[in-house]
């Protein structure tokens, strides 16, 4: 059920590589855990991120969670739609609910991420 063309982190972010750039969002599992999302705190365009550094926060009726960058890079675009309609993350987490677009600094870091099948296996282990 998780798209084959994305890479995944243990903290439930996804990364879609498009040439030298990549799009980042949170996974369907993450949005389900969070519940109805009411606010997304987006970074400034131009922000330089290291892998695992906080991109921003996602706030739901239940909690506030940090979103971590799966790889190092520079923020070149943010999904400003999310300021008005944060529930796009609930409705379409792997598509319209994307959070930022990065210029990737070091493509080798992608090797540290999980493929869809591995992520699904990882989720099975998490089921409480």
């Amino acid at each position: 059920m998780y798209p084959e063309n994305l890479y995944y982190t243990k903290d439930h972010e996804w990364l879609k590589v498009e040439g030298e750039e990549a799009v980042v969002g949170i996974t369907d599992f993450a949005q389900k855990q969070l519940g109805d999302i009411i606010y997304v705190d987006l970074p400034q365009v131009g922000k330089i991120l290291e892998a695992h550094q906080t991109i921003g926060t996602v706030e739901s009726v239940k909690s506030v969670s940090d979103v971590y960058s799966p790889v190092s890079g520079e923020v070149i675009e943010v999904n400003s739609e999310l300021s008005q309609t944060p529930d796009l993350i609930n409705k379409d987490p792997h598509g319209q609910g994307w959070i930022v677009r990065l210029k990737i600094k070091d493509k080798s870091e992608i090797n540290n991420l999980m493929k869809a099948a591995d992520y699904e296996k990882y989720l099975e282990g998490l089921e409480h």
């Binding site: 855990q33 109805d36 009411i38 606010y39 009726v61 944060p86 529930d87 409480h128």
Partner: protein, 485 residues
Amino acid sequence: MINVIREPLIFEISSPGKTAVKLPELDVPEKKDLLNGVPVRNDIEGFPEVSETEITRHFTRLSQMNYCVDFGFYPLGSCTMKYNPKVNEKVASMSCFTSSHPLAPEKLVQGNLELMKTLEKLLCEITGMDAVTLQPAAGAHGELTGMMLIRAYHTAHGNPRKYVLIPDSAHGTNPSSAHICGYTVKEIKSSEKGTISVEDLARVMDEEVAALMVTNPNTLGVFESDICQIADIVHAKGGFLYMDGANMNALAGITRPGDMKVDVLHLNLHKTFSTPHGGGGPGSGPVAVKKILEPYLPVPVIEEKDGQYYLNYDRPQSIGRVKSFYGQFLVMLKALAYILALGPKGIREMAEVAVLNSNYIRKSLEGIYHLKYDTPTLHECVFSDKYQKDYGVSNLDIAKRLLDYGLHPPTMSFPLIVHGALMIEPTETESRRDLDLFIEAMKAIDREAKENPELLKSAPHLTYVRRLDEVQAARNPILRWEKKE
């Protein structure tokens, strides 16, 4: 509770010219120029005009829609909503206290200063610490003050340091307090037992870590039994051990943070020491420290010289004031009344009964509701909705259904390490009968989850308002009344 038909806002029942008080006719010459030059408030447009009957009934009806500790059980885990003894209120409302002015000369308020000093000493004795400031006005304010003391110490010793370590089972305010104090927070993951992993801590602890903030017992209700070893690891690298003392009602009279090598902790008078909480506040979050941090305490500090109490502002290393005047004086009185009424044995019994009550609930609901960690717990226990999830029922549905049983729901969805958490803290003030009412309601809700899940998903059914749209309320909050044209 009385079912009230929709109660309008007071603005909506207003009719022009109505008043609650009728003043006698003016029988002296009118003086119009008396207020010349004095700023006079303009009439507030749309200010409600109602009769005394209307005011009384309006607010009485609103009060009947409310839920409070005087009405029933309030099992909000980690928030310790215990009963507030009426004698505390009686003491705090004595006119000798309510009439004393905060700027009165010290010699006229010796009694007040003595009471504050007495409370400080009692809190030192209960916590095993060396000195206390009563200034902070809430738990999180206490946390911030505690972190400022740590920062002041490190700064005075050449390096404020960069990081504060916080376990994922800590109170949610801890990371925020550390962050506001200028530190970067590093989270430590809990072990399978729900406690801090000593190995993990040893790995991340270094000379750039200013402090470890521990909630003990933690938000799972689990006592950090390695606390002394944890303290040694932190101290070996020159860091401080901060303890969030919000859960002190599990320990008071039994063991003391000071003996666990804790350097700083805050207490919540509005929790452990029975003063009102939430809307009934204000809160009070005294901070207790070991000698090493005493020079940095906020000013003024109450001191005694030749049998006279005075406020000492001459403390060059102090972090300064953290609150106007001296903190919430009347709240301190309530806590003092509580401590003196209980006495040493009573304080211990308070903690024992808090732990007993929590374990009574835990044992009664075990197997019916899922317990992620089977480690023994103290004053609170954290169940999850895992079993009920099979019927499509979430912790939110369970919480909403509890309202139909006339009970306040427990803390939900926290701590984050338990998915679908229901965090239950009965406190020591609940009788066996009240605990049983809660347990029976929780069992009935579990049966309903299996037999008629829709009943839970659409709950509450018997309250004044039905299920509220939390998403709408968070995204588009209407915070004040506005006149419709």
